[in-house]
């Protein structure tokens, strides 16, 4: 059985994030916790159903990917261990990898900084990807 592109991407997201979207009980606590909720077009609790429905294309194009601060409030508070923050993070990685580079040198970063990227996201990323 061969997977469609969309299914493959969804599977990739599941693997990168380590998250099982089927565990979601649609309580909305992620969205309730999210400090960037109002900036987002796809809301945190919706990320999960996009993965369940293999709709990664839409997720990749959404503004939300770049609005998530990576504060992990949703990861901490998710009662079902679905951890939407990690799903967003994985989607972000997927998009970045498709653009080519998956690796940056520290000295290259300042030049690449986009004014729109929230600072906290950078700090959060450093925190997670050091080593």
């Amino acid at each position: 059985m061969s997977l469609t592109m969309a299914e493959k991407q969804a599977e990739q997201i599941r693997q990168i994030s380590g998250s099982d979207p089927y565990k979601c009980m649609k309580c909305g606590k992620c969205s309730a916790s999210c400090p960037s909720f109002n900036e987002m077009d796809i809301k945190p609790h919706q990320f999960v159903s996009y993965v369940v429905n293999d709709n990664i294309e839409a997720l990749a194009e959404s503004k939300s990917l770049w609005k998530c601060l990576g504060c992990f409030a949703c990861v901490e508070r998710c009662p079902r261990d679905v951890q939407p923050g990690r799903v967003v993070d994985a989607a972000r990685q997927l998009v970045e990898r498709q653009r080519g580079g998956d690796h940056l040198h520290a000295e290259d970063i300042p030049a690449l900084l986009d004014d729109d990227v929230p600072q906290q996201l950078l700090v959060s990323a450093f925190r997670r990807y050091r080593r």
């Binding site: 565990k23 909305g28 969205s31 309730a32 909720f37 809301k43 609790h45 409030a73 009662p79 261990d81």
Partner: protein, 662 residues
Amino acid sequence: MQRIGVFVCHCGTNIAATVDVKKVVELVRFEPGVVHAEDYPYMCSEVGQQKIAEAIKEKQLTGVVVCSCSPRMHEATFRNCAEKAGLNPYMVEVANIREHCSWIHKDMEEATKKAVILARAAIAKVNLNTPLQAGESPVVKRALVIGGGIAGIQTAIDIAEAGYKVDIVEKTPSIGGRMSQLDKTFPTLDCSSCILTPKMVEVSTHPNITIHTYSEVDKVSGFVGNFTVDIKKKARSVDLDKCTGCGVCQQKCPMKKVPNEFNRELNTRSAIYTPFAQAVPNVPVIDREHCLMFKTGKCGVCSKVCQAGAVDYEQQDEIITEKYGAIVVATGFDIIKLDKYDEYAYSQSPDVITSLELERIMNAAGPTNGHLERMSDHKPPKNMVFIQCVGSRCADHRGKSYCSKICCMYTAKHAMLIRDKYPDVNVTVFYIDVRTPGKNFDEFYRRAVEQYHVNYIKGQVGKVAPQPDGSLLVQGVDLIDNKQIVMNADMVVLAAAIEPNPDIRKIATMLTASIDTNNFLTEAHAKLRPVESPTAGIFLSGVTQGPKDIPETVSQAGAAAVKVIGLLAKDKLKTNPCTAKCDVMMCNGCSTCANVCPYGAITYEDQEVRGPGVREVRRVAQVNVALCQGCGACTGACPSGAMDLQGFSNRQLISEVDAICR
């Protein structure tokens, strides 16, 4: 050589759809000892059992193998059937070709092959079975109920009404349990103590009921029909017989700063106290941890003011030993600790409370005399937010995986009562699902919405932040509108998950009753034996078995009582004949087996042993069959193999291994 009959059940299509039963019948015919084999759609049915009985008689069967569902399901059925047909019931073995075969395999050839092997193992075992006779043990006509909440009270009353003696052991100074802390009850909104107090009085005055409050079960030994229990009666420091319950001691006690457990520590009590006004017995206890007399040796006020001379600082803990035929566990629940839910600011603000605290606040005998007010500044709230499923339905490390079942209903009750009494208070409920299965339950919830205009929002709260002005900022989500909501509240009420009483692990261990990963006691069968523990003689009442509301608890309490009555009504019980047995010719008398026996069933005695070329007095093991429960730990420990287990003997098990590995 045995004459074995093999009976293969189709179980409708449950077995026959995956296992070729005809083929099984054909193949087992050639097994050693088999003289008869047949199949039938439902072996457990009247007709099926008739077939077994007929074959036993016509073919003079000495052994029976039924290939059917799990022996845990129908072994007793088939053994009874054999016994009625004149065959020793222990000459029947069941090959489990449903749960362990047809239900888990899809390939017919493979499943059939496995079914034949399982049948072969059972046939090999039956070839070595010997008729066993069940012994008898007397039944002590007295029951013990652990826990004096509504579950324990109801069970005790029902058993007592049937004419049997019942003892209740309650850890706290009074019976009454959680229900005594509640203000009103859903869905009828009647006052909790108004319906509970008469029951408490009934139980305390019933001639067949003895109540041990401020007491704990310390040790349990024995078995169904004949348990011996040590009950530790903690020193109350007040003589139960002398005290008149006048309450002067509590008024005069100089130590009034003790957190009041009954009011969920929202206010304080004196060191000598009764938990609440309607307490049974209405006799205070001295909390020795806080009493000045016990801490400093200087005080003695209560003793001085007591007209009856009931205060006794010298009183000691006392252990009483009683015998019981049955034990009911009704240890109830508590709510979970909320220290892992910091986002709701429970530990930061006194105005974030649990629902059980709200019950006390709304109760006329509670810390605010029934006035709805904030615990921080005692002002009436304007906006109240209720948050559901705090710690329930959690897959993470913080909470419980189950639904606590009662929260949806009591939250609707709270919301309704508040809107009724304080119509200017806005009430918002954040919910994931509203679960209202139960008679008049959904109607009750709809009334909260339709009649009382309680604002139910589908969604959760992410954060509660105390503000400098004393209000609480609540950030939640409305999933229907797909909007984040940020609102101000004066009080936030958390529907915290319930969990079994933390003492239950210790108690279950003493009773050797199985317990699940959530600390609820396991039933003997989830559907068909819901009030019995798998451990014979142990029964379950109330939330100790799983989350339930009051009406469910009361019906289950009654059901447990019926099971107890059914047991106590018997004069004698048949004992399990599958006990250990020592071959004195082989026994070394080394005591290894006695060291591993959990029941103290093995003793040693000098006995004259006679056999081929042997006639001497030897120290050999003796098994007390009334105590032996048939675990077989001794058989594995015995170096010589002298100790064997009847019904699961070494030879039988080895022959099963051989049959499977053939």
